[in-house]
Every structure is written in C-alpha cells, then in structure tokens.
C-alpha cells in the first residue's frame, strides 16, 4: 500500500517535473530578448546602415546589396513575409509561399534602400526597451536635419528559434509597417477575386531588375 502510494506520487512528481521542463523550454523558445540584447541589435544595425550610407563612392546597386545583407541578417524576413500575407498564407501552395517569400524580401529591401538613399546625415538615438508579450520593443528617435521634429521609431525584436534576436516589425510614430503592408496586400488580393497570384504578379513586376 505504502509502496503503491510512493510509486503513484513518484509518477505524479515525474509528470510535474516533465511538465515543468516542457514549460520552461517552451517558455524559453518564445521568451522576449533581453532589453540589452535588443538595444544592442538596433544600435549595431543603425551604425552598419549609417556607415554604408556615409561611405563615399558607393553607387545605388552597392548600397542595395549591402542593405540586403543588413536586413537579411537582422530582420526576421520570412516571419514578416508570413505575417503580412495574413490569412492568405494558408490558402497558398508551398511553391507560391516560397516564391512569395523571396519576392517579398526583395520588395522590402528595395523599399528600405529607397528610403535610406535620401540619407543626409540623420542620426539614430536608441532609447529605452520594454517587454510586450513575447517581444521586446526598443524605442528610438531618428533625428532629422533641417530643424524638423525627430521621428519616433520603435523596433519590435523577437528571439529567433536559435536564440538570435531579430527585428519583426518597425513602428513609425505608432504606425506598424507590417500591419500597413498586411492591410495593403489583403485589399489588393480581395480586389482581384481573392487570388494570391495577383499579388505575386505585382511583386514580380515591382522587383524586376
């Protein structure tokens, strides 16, 4: 009798222990990056980007290539691509998903290269970081030239599966770039009879050359 209870409690304890292990390990997988790690990511990315842009004699193509590297290294591009396609992700074929992810990455890189090509000495000051569910939000201000007000830019940083912090969204003056793009893509697909192919066609023509 006594032995049975012991065995039973042992099993219960074992289950609990197992559950705890699972809970902590899965917690770790979705845990937000530490504020320091997230701030460091944004700081190093900003200095990378600024040194690329300030480097003399770099032409537009070189800047684009360099930006692709910076974004691919620091942004969760596949995750962003999936989020932006929203509910349409589930109804696309794996081939379409692959092509879409690839096109989206090039599209995003093109946009950011475009935005940064007008660079004229702006600086980034990285400020506080706060936790928001499974992400860490790093606040920063882009200090504009010509006496314009600084722009509030927040970076949503998540931990990738192998523990490397990555940017999953950029929020400019309370406007999320990922949400904006998701809304745009959804509208585009809806207005074309719900066909994801219509979006792919637009992305193809936009990222050509």
């Amino acid at each position: 009798m006594c032995a049975r209870i012991n065995l039973r409690s042992l099993v219960v304890v074992a289950f609990f222990a197992l559950g705890l292990v699972f809970a902590t390990s899965s917690n770790r997988a979705i845990a937000a990056p530490s504020p320091e790690a997230a701030q460091e990511l944004i700081k190093s990315m900003a200095s990378d980007a600024i040194s690329t842009l300030s480097a003399a004699n770099s032409d537009q193509n070189q800047i684009k290539t360099k930006f692709h590297e910076i974004l691919a290294k620091n942004f969760d591009l596949p995750g962003i691509a999936k989020f932006v396609l929203g509910r349409y992700w589930r109804i696309t074929t794996p081939e379409q998903q692959d092509e879409y992810t690839h096109l989206f990455e090039n599209y995003i890189v093109g946009i950011y290269a475009n935005r940064f090509s007008q660079y004229s000495g702006e600086t980034v000051s990285v400020e506080s970081a706060r936790q928001d569910q499974d992400a860490t939000i790093v606040s920063s201000h882009i200090n504009l030239t010509k006496g314009n007000q600084p722009v509030l830019v927040e970076w949503k940083v998540i931990d990738s599966s192998n523990g490397v912090p990555l940017v999953s969204d950029v929020i400019i003056e309370n406007v999320s770039m990922s949400l904006t793009q998701r809304s745009e893509f959804a509208t585009l697909i809806q207005n074309n009879g719900g066909k994801v192919e219509s979006l792919l066609a637009q992305l193809r023509s936009r990222t050509k050359g």
Binding site: N114, R115, S176, T180, R182, S183, E184, T187, L188, N191
Partner: protein, 252 residues
C-alpha cells in the same frame, strides 16, 4: 432658435452614429469569423472613396503638395512658427469646448487659460507664451469627444480636399467647424477672407508635416489607397487611445 437647432442636429447625428456603431461591431465580428483581423476598418464605400482619393491626389500633386513645399522651404522658420501659433490659438476655443464635453475640467481650464494668455500677452496668438507658463498645447476635437462617448470610427471615409477620415471623425470635423466660436465671430464681422487665409496656411503647414509619408507611399506602395487608409487609421486610433488613456487615468 439657432442654438436649439444646433443641439438637435448634433443629437440626431450622435444617435445615428451610435446606431451605426452597433451595426459596425456586428460586422466586425462577422469579419473576424471570416478571418479578417480586428485592426481592419470597414470600407463599404471603397469605390466612392477611391474616386475621391484620386481627385485629392490630383489636387495634391498639382497644387497643394508643391505649394506646401514652397511654404516650408521658402517662408522663414520664425514666421512659420508665428503662423502656427496663430492658427492654433484660433482653434483653442474649439479645444476648450471639446474638453468640457469630454468631462475634462482641468483640460478645459488650461485651454481657456491658454487662449486668454496667448491672445493678450502673445500678440494676438502669434507667440505661445502659455506653454512657457505651464499650459502646454493640447489639441483635441469632436471626433475624440465622440470616441470618449464610446462611438467607434464605424467606417472609412475619404473627404474631398480634407482627405482620410472615418464616419465618426468626419462628423467630428463637421461639428467642430459648425460650432467654432471664432468662425461665428468672423462671419458676423465680415472677416471671412481673413479666416480663409488662416485655413489655407494651416492646410499648407499640416500638409508639409506629412510630406515624407505621402512621398514614401507614392513611391513604394502597391496600392496607395489601401496603404493610406491603414496609415491614417493606425495613427488616428493610436492618438485617440493615448488621449482616452490619459483621461481615464485622471478620472480614477
């Protein structure tokens, strides 16, 4: 008599807004079941909105955009600042009325104080001396008042010339215009032209502030209309949420 008509008009508008809010909530839930996320705003007038958007874009590319660039880059900074202080001061009575309607008595006091101080000590509003005296610029509008009363944006609306709005905020803009004491005084004293000039300067100034976002959208977006709709709604809802949080915290 006019007062009574005004009140009745406002009341009717509010009622119809509340009624449509109930419908909109129902619609949102339906959409959620179909997998549309909650951050999307309903856009039942998309066809009409797109037409007005196209018209606004044409006006903006031809006139408003270039004029605002000339204003921002050609007019000396201190003059721009003076103009900005001036039109903001003329809007302050509307802020004060709305603060009262939002049951924000302290906000009402600050707005009233600002108006009196800047008008008298700030050379008719050209200088913002009130901020330095601890009465900062705190704009608000009837759209925020409606939000405070629980009215949802309901659906997206593009107004001719004024641009992105929603049913709630479009009604808000109309009520703010109608109930503006400065407008009534100007209308009764043959100062319509002067007031129109102030509105024009405000339009140039406000347009110049969003120039980066507009240029960026034109250059990068696949669907400029949908992008603008999302940008506007996110920005406006964040603004309103911050304001409601502030009011809520103070009333606790």
């Amino acid at each position: 008599m006019l007062q009574l008509r005004q009140i009745t008009l406002t009341f009717t508008l509010c009622l119809s807004l509340l009624a449509s809010t109930a419908c909109a909530n129902h619609k949102l839930q339906d959409d959620e079941n179909n997998g549309i996320s909650g951050d999307e705003i309903a856009d039942p007038l998309e066809g009409l909105n797109r037409a007005v958007f196209g018209l606004n874009e044409a006006v903006d590319i031809l006139y408003l955009g270039p004029a605002s660039t000339i204003y921002r880059e050609g007019v000396p900074q201190p003059v721009q600042k003076g103009f900005r202080n001036f039109y903001r001061n003329l809007e302050t009575p509307v802020y004060a009325i709305n603060k009262l309607l939002q049951a924000d008595i302290h906000g009402f006091g600050r707005a009233t104080g600002r108006f009196v101080i800047n008008t008298l000590a700030g050379v008719g509003g050209l200088m913002d001396v009130a901020t330095r005296m601890g009465l900062p610029y705190e704009p608000t509008d009837f759209g925020i008042t409606l939000a405070r009363w629980g009215v949802q944006p309901t659906f997206y609306l593009v107004l001719p010339l004024f641009g992105p709005s929603s049913l709630r905020d479009g009604v808000g803009q109309g009520v703010d215009w109608y109930a503006d004491p400065v407008r009534m005084v100007a209308a009764n004293n043959d100062l319509r032209t002067e007031r129109a000039a102030v509105s024009a300067i405000k339009a140039l100034d406000a347009r110049a502030d969003v120039d980066a976002a507009i240029q960026d959208t034109r250059k990068n977006a696949l669907d400029g209309y949908a992008t603008m709709r999302s940008l506007y709604m996110q920005h406006r809802e964040a603004e309103i949420k911050a304001e409601l949080d502030r009011l809520h915290k103070k009333n606790k």
